[in-house]
């Protein structure tokens, strides 16, 4: 009996996290269209509902009512499973992210390792979708996207190792608590190169501009999901935005102090700003990163594929390795107020 109650409690917590997350994913599409519209000196959607706020629902309804075309000779089972393989890791990684003090679904001791494992699983949706579509463009796009994601995962892993060294624990709540303090206490300052590398790798992992050559709309026409339509395509879309929010959430947690306010611990301003709940600070930081994502999309030209691979292997990995050595010297000699 007690176990059933526990399961119900877990389910309740999950629903409380998932529903706002899915709404956030849906409205991310709206935010992107609006912000890119303003960057390009035009308004985004503003017809459906006041200021276009009902646009995501209109889009969802449209996609749900469209036909899902199963191409000839496509591998049926894999074709249908691929979107699920894409969205499962993007959502499952949220189980260990704390959005506030103690507000985490599963407080596991190997949280960061679990998140990295889920990020590694994200490549399967892409590869299986590309292969199951039985189309040259899809397969080529899938392999290129897969190789790109996999190359930037290394740089991301090294950046995470740097954060681990600074915080001393794989438990994500403890990583945030190690940054307790005002804004200069957070990890972005001593780990600045790793922060930048993590952020660039994050943008590359989610296949967003300037690294979106594998789904480059004008080159290989949407790449691995070219044969998808209707709700199956929508799930890929949702998975991409869920990944974006996940990467932003991780960046906020690992480098920008999670749920702490920038004035936490200061004599006068501290208590005033601490009245704002930690969850709001976390959401603000995530929103900042999401705005950066959209900003990059509206501003930068696209990298060529060989430039992308060169950046991932020849630039980001050496930078991270060098900074890891520097950081370990910092830690062993006890330099600075952070270690």
């Amino acid at each position: 009996m007690a176990e059933i109650l526990e399961l119900v409690w877990i389910l309740a917590k999950i629903v409380v996290l998932l529903v706002p997350l899915l709404i956030a994913v849906a409205y991310m599409t709206y935010a992107e269209r609006k912000v890119i519209g303003w960057i390009q000196l035009r308004r985004g959607p503003n017809r459906v509902g006041a200021y276009g706020l009902l646009q995501p629902f209109a889009d969802a309804l449209k996609l749900m009512l469209k036909e899902i075309v199963l191409p000839l000779n496509a591998n049926r089972g894999l074709f249908v499973i691929a979107p699920m393989l894409s969205i499962m890791p993007a959502l499952a990684a949220w189980a260990v992210l704390p959005v506030g003090q103690g507000l985490v679904i599963a407080d596991v001791n190997a949280g960061l390792l679990y998140v990295l494992a889920m990020a590694s699983l994200g490549v399967y949706g892409v590869i299986v979708a590309g292969w199951a579509s039985n189309s040259k463009y899809a397969l080529l796009g899938a392999l290129r996207a897969g190789a790109q994601v996999v190359s930037y995962e290394i740089a991301m892993g090294f950046a995470l190792v740097g954060v681990l060294m600074a915080s001393g624990s794989l438990n994500i709540s403890e990583i945030v608590e190690a940054q307790a303090g005002p804004i200069w206490n957070w990890f972005w300052l001593p780990l600045l190169p790793l922060f930048i590398v993590y952020w660039i790798s994050g943008v590359a992992e989610t296949n967003r501009l300037p690294f979106d050559v594998a789904e480059g709309e004008s080159e290989i026409v949407a790449g691995f999901h070219v044969e998808y339509s209707g709700m199956a395509f929508a799930v890929f879309f949702l998975a991409e935005y869920a990944n974006m929010i996940l990467i932003s959430g991780l960046a906020a947690i690992m480098f920008l102090g999670g749920w702490y306010s920038p004035f936490h611990g200061l004599p006068v301003l501290g208590p005033i700003f601490d009245l704002v709940p930690g969850m709001i600070w976390f959401c603000l930081k995530v929103a900042f990163f999401l705005f950066c994502y959209i900003w990059f999309r509206g501003t930068f030209p696209r990298y060529r594929y060989d430039q992308i691979m060169r950046l991932g292997w020849k630039v980001l990995i050496p930078v991270t390795v060098v900074w890891l050595v520097v950081e370990s010297v910092f830690i062993l000699t006890g330099f600075g107020p952070w270690f």
Partner: protein, 118 residues
């Protein structure tokens, strides 16, 4: 300790369920009118030129192998990062040797041009 993983299992099951539910909803709610032209693979309006299997490009294989090696390196770095203060200088030296050996391999692949072209 392992009890704290139960919510993760429930979450994964829920995420899988969501990922299956949405396309199924799409199948149910959407029309099904298969048509020869709709079902053929996308080729910008042309007939497909040849079989959709492309020539085996060994660069993808190389990238995947290099990724395995570095992923293992990261997996070894994880426990070290946590116990750095406890294993002290000796542990640092051991890991420095480990990373150094792998750096030799990385340098070899850089110089050989395995990181080019892609």
């Amino acid at each position: 300790m392992v009890e704290s993983y139960l919510p993760i299992l429930v979450f994964i099951v829920l995420a899988v369920g969501l990922g299956v539910l949405l396309p199924v909803l799409g199948f149910i709610l959407g029309p099904r009118r298969p048509d020869d032209e709709k079902l053929s693979p996308y080729e910008c309006g042309f007939e497909a030129f040849e079989d959709s299997r492309m020539k085996f490009d060994v660069r993808y294989y190389l990238v995947a192998i290099l990724f395995i090696i570095f992923d293992l390196e990261i997996a070894f770095l994880f426990p070290w990062a946590i116990v750095l203060d406890k294993v002290g200088l000796f542990g640092f030296g051991a890991m420095a040797l480990f990373v150094g050996i792998l750096l030799v391999g990385f340098l070899y692949e850089w110089k050989k041009g395995a990181l080019e072209w892609e």
